[in-house]
Subunit: 198 residues, 2 copies
Amino acid sequence: MAGGREVERLIDLMAKLPGLGPVSARRAVLTLIRKKALLMAPLATAMAEVEATVRECRICANITTDTFCEICRSPKREQTLLCVVESVADLWAMERGAAFKGRYFVLGGVLSALDGITPEGLRIPELVRQVLEGDISEVILALNATMDGQTTAHYIADQLSESRAALTSLAQGVPIGGELNYLDDGTIAAALNARKTF
Amino acid sequence: MAGGREVERLIDLMAKLPGLGPVSARRAVLTLIRKKALLMAPLATAMAEVEATVRECRICANITTDTFCEICRSPKREQTLLCVVESVADLWAMERGAAFKGRYFVLGGVLSALDGITPEGLRIPELVRQVLEGDISEVILALNATMDGQTTAHYIADQLSESRAALTSLAQGVPIGGELNYLDDGTIAAALNARKTF
């Protein structure tokens, strides 16, 4: 039905992407076929290129096409400030904020008894090594405000208790532009407890 | 920020797909990178393969990897029944219904004064040639129930007035499982006008 096995296989693969289901994958593939020269060919090339060149930064596990990522290589970044994030997506989100001038450490997940994710699976020993052996003055635990994220933050804090680095975490409160009416009770309580002089 | 130019280029290209915006494209690319061997490599290959092999069926303009598509080649399909659809997506939708046993003719769009789409741009002369020269007993105009779709249907009917083939169109009415409460007035009126003995 879908114009041959190759096309059906492409639809099946596209449907595995987050945000695309079987129906939208079919629509995407039809668009690709309609824009063969303008979109499909460049996309196939770009994908093959990224697949061949992308790897983990040896220091922070960010995505890079070199041995070390742009951030770890940059002399402009504060070398003594280390921000621990769960994923590369979170690192990118932090970078979009453009407020952090230090380096990152990507855990690659959070501890989870349910999913069998252990400290070793998360590069926590490597983080401890970098903090203890390096000249780090502050470790910011920028983990998600979920149960697993906070468990992981506490575990890391425990492991780093011997280091001289200060341990901090992101402030919790009302998001910029956020309406109290739409916030959950936990956030309102956290914002109230951390209230500042106006 | 996004791990090198190659990755950023891939995100930009992915964001051009229908259903994906800048944010979901980023998420999709991160998934691709995480599943490099399992998803990105096969996807790049499948895309390059389809890009290299896919083309329009010489008869009906369906997508195929051969000169003629599966449907046009199939001896099981009724050769005298021709269903005119706007796009390959509509052809696939008809095939999912599995109720039609004839062949198709993909117009590639509908007439539109606004977008400057003329009969020649839609392969209408080729359709007329196939119907007049071939042994076609019925032409089903399965065009979308939009203004442009219906204009195109009327134009085609006009062009085929000399042919002996019967001209039909899809019935309009209440969709299976449809609730009257959620239907537009035009559909309800059409369903009422075409009411059948119970």
